[in-house]
Amino acid sequence: MSASGQIGIDHARAACGRDDRLVAGFAALAIAIHILEAAFPSPLPGVKPGLANVITLIVYLRHGLRLAIWVAAMRVLVGSLLVGTFLSPTFLLSVTGAVAALSALALVGTIGGQRIGPVGLSVVSSLAHMSGQISVAYLLFIPHPALLKLVPVLLTAALLFGIVSGLIAASVLQILRRRAAAR
């Protein structure tokens, strides 16, 4: 009785440790991409490729929503500490974007299941990311009609970058799957 209980706890601990290492590794990748992107000048304020979301997407499809939330949370937190935007308006926008993107990912992923691949999920989460950020920016920071004029441009950018990110994620997932199959 006590022995089986002990084994159960050990299993849980081992799973925990494995998950922790996965989260740490993927989060490190995402943070590196996040910071590389922050270093590049942006053609339009508020527009960046968001390639770090490729990592979130891959983690979601391979390891589920829980780990994806962890990786996104680590990326937003550590990324903002390293770039120097922690607790600034940028940080709040970052959090909003991540929450909106993960919610959309969970919703569409659950409804669509296997019918929807990385590209569809990426586009949905990218548009949700952008919409969430625009809403918060408009409601909290710049309640000016001029911001709304930017919405079509920003959504177009989100759509294009969402497709690109999705294709990257799909290719990476294919490579990973082939490697696993060849093993």
């Binding site: 499809l61 391979r62 589920g64 296997q114 009609p145 999705g166 294709l167 290719s171």
Partner: protein, 138 residues
């Protein structure tokens, strides 16, 4: 079933699935439609009816149409201010404040222009149409 990630994580199908699946194309079409609609919604022609928004102590009192000329008396914190609409423009005619800065602001007609009588707590702002920036800070 609810979580596709756990299934994909445990078994890897030998034949790679296509990069873009059927559901993806549906989502792409919907997304393109949504983005296209946003152009219509946010860049479409606005109703030309420009108005002057009158606020007293930060609460909106009334919206004056700039098409209808007239003189309006606005009850403020310290007394009556007079606002005049004439030929698509609006101005303070008189106000019970010491400096009369609001009156000296003169006629307002461009969208976004503001005249304020702070002692009386009255702000008049032109709304609608093409809005011009008063400052851009990137």
């Amino acid at each position: 079933m609810a979580d596709p990630g756990s299934e994909a994580g445990s078994e890897y199908p030998a034949d790679p699935r296509p990069l873009i699946r059927g559901g993806d194309i549906l989502i792409l079409l919907l997304a393109a439609g949504l983005v296209g609609a946003s152009f219509g919604a946010f860049w479409g022609p606005r109703g030309e009816g420009e108005t002057a928004l009158v606020t007293v102590d930060r609460s909106v009192l009334r919206e004056l149409s700039l098409d209808q000329d007239g003189v309006f008396e606005i009850e403020g914190r310290i007394g009556l201010s007079t606002v005049m609409v004439d030929g698509g423009r609006v101005r303070f005619l008189d106000s019970p404040c010491p400096g009369r800065y609001c009156v000296h602001s003169g006629w307002l007609h461009r969208s976004g222009e503001v005249a304020a009588c702070l002692p009386n707590g009255i702000v008049v702002e032109v709304l609608g149409g093409e809005r011009e920036f008063d400052a851009i800070n990137l």
